[in-house]
């Protein structure tokens, strides 16, 4: 049975449809007499484009702007290549492993190469092809987020090997656990009784990526000269451009996760936007207080922190919840960046853990409280309270974080053994653009 990634409330509101959709995937070949809704499909086609846009060019530019001139092309290459690898793997077996009918731990290979998908296959009220594509864009962006941890020093072959393995061992399974119909986190008790809530990927996307990022950074060790010799971003305007694209694209990420063009999408978009705007202003305010001025990279880092943090909650909360998450995200993520870099001296170069890991986990936990109608939230499943739900969420955070950390540790070691991790010191000084890709970013 192929999961439909319906968060509890959502499916509660659409029981009959869920039933039909599920039925569809029990039919041989996925055939179904179910009708699609052209409006829902239009929004999901658009959301797919928006989420791809987040990665390419959004995230690629965001990261490329933050590194030094001599590593710009390498960052772009990492993002483009990982996106391609993830797309092909998703087609070959990823989709089936994540959403195919399997057991509590993993889907199945029955859907490998999209076997059984025809022009009649329907998921929710959209063509299965659209569902496939939409979910693929999440499998694309997640490993790309980790790029920020290892820029400016990693071997390109290590990027390819690590990420292919990571998708297999971390992303596809965790997506199945949390979003797959039979997944053990998703399925802990029927949804109506309050399974874990991760609307658009606080766990599946941001926790996995953020935790893996910091483990990777530790194992790969710091860039030479970190932190004294590390210079500020070579072109912060590129990062702003990328952040703006991420913001716009995130509407597809969160509002698209409603899987329909309706109230759920509208509310998710509202909460998402308010969290982003609020976190931006909070980050700006903190910088102003601490440095006497506020930077542009700062404000947009706040934006991304707000967006990452609201992600798991966006389908369960109201506008006020978005606003409050924005405040929490701005404060927490800011101080985690300081803690990781200045205290722990870990060169998670572009702060993937601080922004996505901390943000994602924070958001998952806050979902328990902010879903409460007190904060305009959409409420809890029967028998659940904010407190009891917090336990469920916390459990999810611990499990996913632990799995991501352990698996990444092993995969980095495997990658090191297979192709080596780091470039030489000379190559690092020369820059990866020329040494690894034979290109220079600027010839003005």
């Amino acid at each position: 049975m192929l999961s439909n990634r319906l968060p509890a409330r959502h499916s509660a509101r659409l029981p009959s449809i869920a039933a039909i959709a599920v039925a569809a995937f029990l039919l041989p070949g996925g055939a179904s007499a179910q009708e699609i809704d052209t409006g829902d499909t239009a929004w999901m086609l658009t959301s797919t484009a928006l989420v791809l846009f987040m990665t390419l060019p959004g995230l690629a530019l965001f990261y490329a702007g933050l590194v030094h001139t001599r590593n710009v092309m390498s960052v772009l290459m990492h993002v483009v290549a990982i996106a391609c690898v993830a797309s092909v793997l998703w087609f070959i077996f990823g989709y089936g492993l994540a959403f195919g009918e399997g057991n509590a731990w993993i889907g199945s290979l029955d859907r490998a190469f999209l076997r059984g998908m025809t022009t009649e296959s329907v998921v929710e009220k959209m063509p299965e092809s659209v569902f496939f594509m939409y979910q693929m864009t999440f499998a694309i962006i997640t490993p790309c987020l980790i790029v920020g941890a290892y820029v400016e020093r990693i071997r390109f072959s290590a990027v390819l090997v690590f990420n292919a393995l990571w998708l297999l061992i971390v992303y596809f399974p965790v997506a199945h656990w949390v979003w797959g119909a039979g997944g053990w986190l998703f399925g802990e008790g029927p949804r109506a009784e309050g399974g874990i809530r991760d609307f658009a990927g606080g766990l599946v996307v941001h926790t996995t990526a953020g935790v893996s990022a910091i483990v990777m950074a530790v194992l790969l060790r710091n860039r030479h000269g970190f932190p004294q010799e590390i210079k500020p971003p070579h072109m912060p305007g590129l990062a702003v451009m990328g952040a703006a694209m991420l913001w716009v694209g995130w509407f597809g990420f969160n509002a698209g996760s409603a899987l329909a063009s309706g109230q759920g999408a509208g509310m998710a978009m509202t909460a998402t936007h308010l969290a982003a705007a609020t976190a931006s202003l909070v980050w700006m305010g903190i910088e102003w207080m601490r440095h006497g001025k506020a930077s542009v990279v700062g404000i947009v880092t706040g934006t991304i922190a707000g967006l990452a943090t609201v992600t798991p909650a966006s389908g369960f909360i109201g506008p006020m919840g978005g606003f409050l998450i924005g405040i929490a995200a701005g404060v927490v993520c800011y101080f985690v960046t300081q803690f990781v870099k200045q205290r722990l001296r870990i060169d998670d170069s572009l702060d993937v853990f601080a922004v996505h890991g901390a943000g994602g986990m924070l958001g998952v936990l806050l979902t328990s409280f902010l879903a409460s109608p007190t904060f305009q939230g959409l409420g809890f499943a029967e028998n659940m309270t904010a407190a009891s739900h917090f336990v469920v969420q916390l459990k999810g955070v611990v499990i996913v974080a632990a799995w991501s950390a352990v698996a990444t540790w092993v995969l980095v070691k495997v990658t090191q053994a297979l192709v080596g991790l780091r470039v030489s010191k000379e190559e690092e000084y020369e820059g990866l653009d020329i040494t690894a890709h034979g290109e220079r970013a600027y010839d003005l």
Binding site: P232, R290, T337, K341, Q342
Partner: protein, 112 residues
């Protein structure tokens, strides 16, 4: 002939150029440089960290002139580049053995 090298504040470039042409100079070569000196640098912020950037953008003007006009040219630069504030820059004077105009092959002061 003398090579007069002036390192000045970027926004003074146009004024200096005009002063030089008024002083009869027909050509000069300008380079964007980074200056380190008594004028302290500035602080940049990046995600909570502050970076001291010691170098400040400056403009280097190189002009080769006949010995006779060197003083006039130096004076023109001094006047036009002066703001009275730290970081106004320096003028260095050095000898040039010869100059050649590639187009015509002329050499010496005629080549300027």
């Amino acid at each position: 002939m003398k090579l007069i090298t002036a390192i000045v504040k970027p926004h003074k470039l146009d004024e200096v150029r005009e002063a030089l042409t008024s002083a009869g100079v027909q050509g000069m070569t300008v380079t964007e440089v980074k200056g380190f000196g008594r004028q302290k640098g500035h602080t940049e912020i990046y995600r909570g960290a502050e970076y001291i950037v010691d170098f400040r953008p400056k403009v280097k003007i190189e002009v080769v002139v006949d010995d006779g006009v060197a003083d006039r040219v130096i004076q023109a630069i001094r006047d036009s580049a002066h703001t009275g504030q730290i970081g106004d820059g320096k003028i260095f004077i050095a000898d040039v053995a010869d100059a050649i105009r590639i187009r015509t092959g002329e050499s010496g002061p005629e080549a300027l």
